[in-house]
C-alpha cells in the first residue's frame, strides 16, 4: 500500500497558497473539514476560490474565511445563512457563481472522473443557461455543463486508514466523496485514523487512490445549525 499519513492539519495545508482553488466538503455545517479550516485561518491565505455547496455561517465554517476576507470567489448552490457573505457580495468584494446543487455535484464527479462535459436538464430556460449550449435529447432540452477540478480538495470523513481509504457517517457524507476525486491534491481529515486492514474493503466509500494526505483531526465541534427535536 501507498501510505498517505501526514502529522496534522498544519502540515496537510502547508502548500496551499494565495490564489488557490479549493473544494471543501460539507452540506451546511455537516461534514465540513473543521481542522483544515482552522489551519487555513491561521495561515490567512488570500484570494481563494472555494467550491462548496454552502458558505458556512457567520462564525463557523467558511464564514470564518469570509470574516478574514480570504475568499475571492465562491462556487456554491446555496449561500443564504451568512450576513457577512451578503455584505461582501453586495459591496462587490466577493464574486459568487451559483450552480444548481445537482449540477454542482455532477460537475465535481465529472471532473474527478475525466468527463470534460455532460448534458443536464437543470437550469434550462433560466439564467443558469446563459451562454451554455442547449441540446434536445428525446424531446427534452438539456444544458452542456463542464467538469470541475481544483488545486486542493479538503474533505472530512468519519474513519480513514493510512492508505487514504475513507468511510463517511450519515449525511455528513454529502459532497465529500466526489470532491475527494476532483482535487489535484486531496487532503482528508478523519475523526479516527485506523491502521491498514481495519476497514472492510467492501465498506469503503472513497478508495485511497483519490487521497494524497490524511490525518486525524485534533477535535471536532460538529456544530448544529438547526437543532430540531421532538418531545415525549
Amino acid at each position: 500500500m501507498i501510505l498517505k499519513t501526514v502529522k496534522n492539519a498544519e502540515d496537510a495545508v502547508s502548500d496551499i497558497s494565495n490564489g488557490a482553488m479549493l473544494m471543501m466538503g460539507g452540506f451546511g455545517l455537516s461534514g465540513i473539514p473543521e481542522n483544515c479550516i482552522a489551519a487555513l485561518l491561521k495561515k490567512e491565505v488570500q484570494d481563494l476560490t472555494i467550491v462548496s455547496n454552502n458558505a458556512g455561517v457567520d462564525d463557523f465554517g467558511i464564514g470564518l474565511f469570509l470574516q478574514k476576507r480570504m475568499v475571492k470567489k465562491m462556487i456554491s448552490s446555496y449561500v443564504g445563512e451568512n450576513d457577512e457573505f451578503e455584505r461582501q457580495l453586495l459591496s462587490g468584494e466577493l464574486e459568487v457563481e451559483l450552480v444548481p446543487q445537482g449540477t454542482l455535484a455532477e460537475r465535481i464527479r465529472a471532473g474527478g472522473a475525466g468527463i470534460p462535459a455532460f448534458f443536464t436538464p437543470a437550469g434550462v430556460g433560466t439564467e443558469v443557461a446563459m451562454g451554455k449550449e442547449i441540446r434536445e435529447f428525446n424531446g427534452k432540452l438539456y444544458l452542456l455543463e463542464t467538469g470541475l477540478t481544483a488545486d486542493f480538495a479538503l474533505v472530512k470523513a468519519w474513519k480513514g486508514d493510512t492508505a487514504g481509504n475513507l468511510i463517511f457517517k450519515g449525511t455528513a457524507r454529502n459532497f465529500n466523496p466526489m470532491m475527494a476525486t476532483a482535487g489535484k491534491i486531496t487532503i482528508a481529515e478523519v475523526e479516527e485514523l485506523v491502521p491498514l486492514g481495519s476497514l472492510d474493503p467492501n465498506e469503503i466509500h472513497t478508495p485511497g487512490i483519490y487521497v494524497q494526505r490524511i490525518f486525524q483531526g485534533e477535535k471536532y465541534e460538529k456544530r448544529i445549525e438547526q437543532r430540531t427535536v421532538t418531545t415525549g
Partner: protein
C-alpha cells in the same frame, strides 16, 4: 383562507402509495405530518438520505444526520445514506416520483420562480432547479398573493426562473389549481368559504373555471 398546516394537509392528499417524495423547505416539510399512515412512501432528503424519520429526541440528536433544511432528523429501518452525486442521480434520473416545493411566483404555463429577488439577497437555487427539471410530478405549495396583495399566479413570472413548464399542480391558501398544458390555471377546488370570484380576482394569470368548483377536503 387556509393556514400553512391546512395547505400541507391538502397537499398530503396528493401522495400515493409507493411514492418516493422530495419535500422542500417550509410548508412542504409539514406535509410529512399529514401523509395517511396506510400509505407506504419514502421521503428523500437531497443531502443524501432516503427514509427521513421524525425529529430526534434530545438525547438522539446527531450532527451527522440532517435534512436539506439543516434540521436534525432521524432515520428509519430501511433508510439508506448516499452522496450528493447519487442523490441527484436519483432526482435527475426520474426515480423520485413527487416533488413538493414552495414558490414565489408560478406562471400559467407552469414556470416557477423561487430562488432570487434581484436587488435583494440572492440565496441561491440549492437543489430546486434540478428538482423542477427532473421530477415527474411537481406540486407547489404557496400563498396565492404576496403580503401586499399582489397575485403570485401570473401570466408570466417577473422574477428569475427556477424552471420552465414544470409545475403540474398548485395548492394555495385559496385554491387547488392545475396547469393546463395549453396555458392557464385550471381551478379544481376552493378553500372552504372562498368564492370563485375571489380566486378569480386574485389570480393575475388566466383562470379556467369548468362547471361547479367543489370545496376542498383534507387528508
Amino acid at each position: 383562507m387556509l393556514t400553512k398546516e391546512q395547505i400541507a394537509r391538502r397537499i398530503a392528499k396528493e401522495v400515493e402509495h409507493g411514492q418516493y417524495i422530495n419535500l422542500g423547505i417550509g410548508i412542504p416539510t409539514l406535509v410529512a405530518n399529514y401523509i395517511p399512515a396506510h400509505l407506504d412512501v419514502v421521503l428523500q432528503s437531497e443531502n443524501g438520505l432516503l427514509g427521513i424519520g421524525p425529529f430526534p429526541k434530545e438525547a438522539d440528536v446527531d450532527p451527522d444526520l440532517i435534512n436539506a433544511g439543516k434540521q436534525t432528523i432521524t432515520m428509519l429501518p430501511g433508510s439508506a445514506i448516499f452522496d450528493s452525486a447519487q442523490s441527484f442521480a436519483m432526482i435527475r434520473g426520474g426515480h423520485v416520483h413527487l416533488t413538493i416545493l414552495g414558490a414565489m411566483e408560478v406562471s400559467e404555463h407552469g414556470d416557477i420562480a423561487n430562488w432570487k429577488v434581484p436587488g435583494k439577497m440572492v440565496k441561491g437555487m440549492g437543489g430546486a432547479m434540478d428538482l423542477v427539471a427532473s421530477a415527474k410530478h411537481i406540486v407547489v405549495a404557496m400563498q396565492h398573493c404576496s403580503k401586499d396583495g399582489q397575485s403570485k399566479l401570473l401570466p408570466t413570472c417577473s422574477l428569475p426562473l427556477t424552471g420552465i413548464r414544470c409545475v403540474k399542480k398548485i395548492v394555495t391558501d385559496l385554491a387547488v389549481l392545475e396547469i393546463d398544458p395549453a396555458g392557464g390555471f385550471v381551478l379544481l377546488e376552493r378553500a372552504p368559504g372562498v368564492s370563485v370570484d375571489e380566486i378569480n380576482a386574485k389570480t393575475a394569470g388566466k383562470l379556467i373555471v369548468n362547471g361547479e368548483i367543489p370545496e376542498m377536503t383534507f387528508a
